[in-house]
Symmetry: C2
Subunit: 354 residues, 2 copies
DNA sequence: TCTATTAGGTTTAACGTTTAAGTAATTTCA
DNA sequence: TGAAATTACTTAAACGTTAAACCTAATAGA
């Protein structure tokens, strides 16, 4: 009734356990004939190796860990960004001898709960994949000293065994701002994400350098900060538009925040894109379906995940992959951006709405 | 340099390995004093048990498997439904001694690739969680004869060790149709999902029985079928509205399809909800943000996942949980449904659009 | 013909844990 | 006071693999 083991096969074929092990592992020192008999009975008894036993002796588990960060219960996997990245990561594991284990991140560091490193140790996890933007996670500091490779999305950790993949945020935002400038906009605002995310710094840098390159002045009152969510984006936009009403375009550092800007604009009676152009970042599914559909920067999420898998596996195998890989985010122009209407200052429109 | 083991602790404290094991496991036959010394040195050496070794001897891995079905690469984790369910499932594992391993489903059943059962066997997976609607997955048939418990979302399998959680689709759709009827609609169409999904059968049953109960006639030409996607929903709606133009309301069996209906309606010049009321199913994030925001049936995704975890764990522990659990899906009324405008037949509007 | 090599295995040990079966010293209680 | 029970351990075995070391018979090379 219990599972078949190497021993069962060995007894049935009439050889030693080692012979069976070596035959199944493809070592050449087993004769053609015995090998065949071994394979046949293995098939017959539907043998599946016990990976726990193998792990114990080889000290390699074939397990990669996935940690999904985020502060709220709901945030982790349900973020519109995560799914495709994970799909890509998993597909990057196909053909490889690795499986993926998901760990509950976000657990408070109270007594009793384990650090990410400790969780990995127990299961002999060979490498970890970290998603989520919070650089202030209490367990993250440890990771820099990890002895197993760790790859993150959008969160460079500067450790010996840490790697990161992400998009070239600077040049992506640069393209977005250039797009707006080419449409005639000069008063361009930014709704950025929170500072704890390294992408926020990069996107801001892209924003400023683009203004510089395009010869546009930088106005600090056109900078707002939010938490990457719809509600946050809306709030940030509203308090900004109420202070300075002559802006004609907004770059939001995430599509969710851009959708919030859209909501806010509607509330203030501003027509997008006639009165206000809006550009997002991410190209989540929703971006296609908003009205107007969102002009945004497409993050190649699937490829990000796939690249992460490749890097992690290569690092697990003792190779030394690049510590940072940047993919290109492409501008997708949709309906939320348009030429700035020359004669009519947006100011007037806003007043009208009040 | 290598990891600390029970042996290291035993040597340092001066007792046997067994004593250390029993002390750490909380057995009462170790004296208070030795126990304390053991705990202290365990802490000191930062001991983490080797779960592979434990698994080998106890024959319990503490691993639950997650299989995400779907036909396309992109479908699995990125479906707007999956994220919250997985979050709920993971949170259902907190406080339990289980971890979750994700397996690549969707692999072709060619020679060389393993069945779900075999994948579980190798890793000594104790129970599996299956998501995704395809009852025609080539490996699913095997699952009915599984000896480890399997819990599915929305896919009853009728096996000895299979369990399923889902929503009470029949009564949910019933509520949706009643809502439309109360708004004065009598020509109500349904855009259902594909037949391979058991939810499609149930939702259709709810649809028909509601018409019955409300004294409305059932018209087969008001029934269309699609693949749960936006594009599919739009296509199905368009070909239906072009055949029979006097419908005033549509129930779509998923929000994605409902969004497709919205697109289709816009294309035909129909105003939602003035000319056409639309109800979806799922309450995905996008549903709040479409214009108009979608009236829909809220599936408690997080709770579905949590319930699945509870059932699976209880089955793993030898208990006998109910083989089917149905949660309630609540109607969320938003802007996509309205009173049917009496005098003006929708027909006229459609003509006008052409 | 004798030694060295090779082919095709076998034996033994090890991985780190748990559990069953002892055992020696102390305590209980009749 | 002496047998029985209890306390606080230890020893030995097992889980299912892999890997290193060893063995034997046949073959090759000189």
């Amino acid at each position: 009734m219990s599972r078949t083991t190497l021993r069962d096969i060995a007894e049935k074929v009439g050889v030693s356990v080692t012979a069976v092990s070596r035959a199944l592992s493809g070592y050449p020192d087993i004769s053609e004939e015995t090998r065949n008999r071994i394979f046949r009975t293995a098939e017959e008894l539907n043998y599946q190796p016990n990976i726990a036993a193998r792990t114990l002796v080889t000290q390699k588990s074939g397990v990669l860990g996935l940690f999904v960060l985020g502060r709220e219960k709901g945030e982790g996997f349900s973020h519109p960004f995560s799914g495709q990245v994970i799909n890509g990561f998993l597909d990057g594991l196909v053909e490889e001898e690795y499986d993926m284990m998901v760990f509950k991140a976000n657990r408070p560091p109270d007594s009793g709960s384990l650090s990410y490193i400790d969780l990995c140790k127990r299961r002999m996890v060979e490498g970890a994949f970290l998603m989520g933007l919070r650089t202030d996670d209490p367990w993250i500091a440890d990771l820099k000293e990890s002895t197993i490779p760790i790859v993150t999305i959008d969160m460079p950790l500067a450790g010996e065994m840490t790697f990161s993949v992400g998009c070239d945020n600077v040049s992506a935002v640069h393209a977005a701002v250039r797009h707006l400038a080419e449409l005639g906009h000069t008063r361009i605002a930014i709704v950025n994400g929170y500072k704890q995310a390294s992408v926020s710094r990069e996107r801001f840098e892209g924003f400023k350098s683009a203004l510089d390159d395009l010869g546009l002045p930088f106005d600090p009152s056109l900078v707002a900060e939010a938490d990457f969510t719809v509600a946050g984006g809306k709030q940030a936009f509203l308090s900004m538009i109420d202070r300075v009403s002559d802006m004609t375009a907004v770059f939001a550092a995430s599509d969710l925040m851009a959708l919030g800007v859209l909501e806010g604009a509607r509330e203030r009676g501003l027509n997008v894109p006639k009165d206000l152009s809006v550009v997002g970042f991410d190209n989540i599914e929703m971006a296609r379906m908003s009205s107007p559909p969102l002009t945004t920067l497409d993050q190649p999420r699937y490829e990000l995940g796939q690249t992460a898998a490749k890097i992690l596996i290569s690092a697990c195998n003792g190779e030394t992959p690049p510590s940072r890989v940047l993919l290109k985010a492409n501008l997708i122009v949709r309906g939320s951006t348009a030429e700035q209407s020359k004669g009519k200052p947006a100011k007037g429109v806003v007043r009208q709405a009040h």
